[in-house]
Symmetry: D2
């Protein structure tokens, strides 16, 4: 991994505010914080182009009283077993479960899988988080 160094110029007052922000967020230094902004802009573009291979996490909350739902979710994951990397299940309380499903594939296919899961009867809330394979991000 070859590091490259370059300079950027910024108004002093603006830099002061940015330094305050990154210290509140716990960044070690400016390079680290700016790298994060750059990487996030690249991930966002990756998702705009639906054909790139990427990774998403689907978070759903549902009531486990609905036996058929749990079964449907498991069936569903098996249908897409080539895309679903893994999943995590948490008992939030006696009724509610949270499940995170990590999916790898083309951005537009991941969106479709998320739509289906979130639209399943009994799912109270669902969201797709757009992340990345990390391959080209250093």
């Amino acid at each position: 991994m070859a590091l490259k160094r370059f300079g950027i110029s910024l108004d002093e007052a603006l830099l002061e505010r940015f330094d305050a922000l990154i210290s509140r967020k716990g960044y070690a230094n400016r390079s680290e914080a700016i790298r994060d902004l750059i990487r996030d802009s690249l991930v966002r573009e990756e998702w705009e182009d639906g054909r790139k291979e990427t990774v998403g996490t689907i978070t759903i909350v549902y009531s486990h009283d609905k036996r058929e739902l749990a079964d449907a979710l498991i069936d569903f994951q098996h249908d897409f077993y080539t895309s679903v990397l893994s999943s995590l299940h948490i008992h939030l309380d006696e009724h509610n479960c949270l499940e995170v499903i990590v999916v790898k594939g083309k951005a537009r296919d991941i969106r479709r899988i998320a739509d289906r899961l979130i639209g399943t009867k009994g799912v109270k809330h669902g969201r797709l988080t757009l992340t990345t394979t990390g391959k080209y991000l250093r």
Copy 2:
């Protein structure tokens, strides 16, 4: 306006991708693109803290056939005349109008004004855009 220059280091492959992205987006150079990312992160924080004075634009689409709606929107803007800076009205077609209302004030008050406008009967679609007074951004 005092400019300050500092160096940041970035993996070479990552920098190549970022350079490709910023050329697609039409940036003149890296400094300019990174300044934009920094300023946007500051504006986002400004809006998380509801008490800061800032600027928002509210975009609504509605059918001008509804005479009462147009009247209600004008009344509304007069009620908040200390906050509403200006507005722009466009005839999209024979039925549909688009109106952009620029509002200045505390973030949470602007949100409240936007909720009211967007919730007005007859408004088909509405959105609040979070921007800034630009004062501390250089």
Copy 3:
């Protein structure tokens, strides 16, 4: 415009919370609030499919001291005069201007125009707001 009526069922406690939310937001009744949620879901889909004709507003904040920038923005709008419907200019303070540019066209072309404008040297902050022609929304 033919209205159609249909029933939906909702848990009582959930309905109570929704009623509280829509009264805070100033909606006249549930139908109105639910229509807004439905229309917004349709607009979001319109923008995911880049080829649909739609409308966006681009909000930028910049310092008017930069004469060349103002010129560049005007030139730019003339280059895209078939897409730019109108624009609004506000003097935020002695230095800062806010400009809202309303653009009509295919979603992906509007995104491209927004990228260019926001990336123009001297623009401090910019955002694209995704809205709609309103044509099929009633």
Copy 4:
């Protein structure tokens, strides 16, 4: 759980489009799709008010070559063990790991934890997903 039924009215053409959208997304019926829109609007409000107890999932991608990072992440989770419910770790490839950390607490505290984790040196990409305890959502 007491269900309540009520009627809403919608323009016919708009309803047709909505029906097409929900069938693409795999919803069983309109009630189900509208309940999802309603619940999502309540979850969004929950997060605007920072003081409500809720649940978030933090997704980070990092290179496992950085031994100290993995250690830091584990230490971190132990420091917040009262908030961190569980976590899931996936090996994306020989270098990259994805970790999902499920956190329960006040919205603003979860945001702070997410900022810290995402800002940790070595984390390539991170995002906070806003979800819910599901308690009042049925």
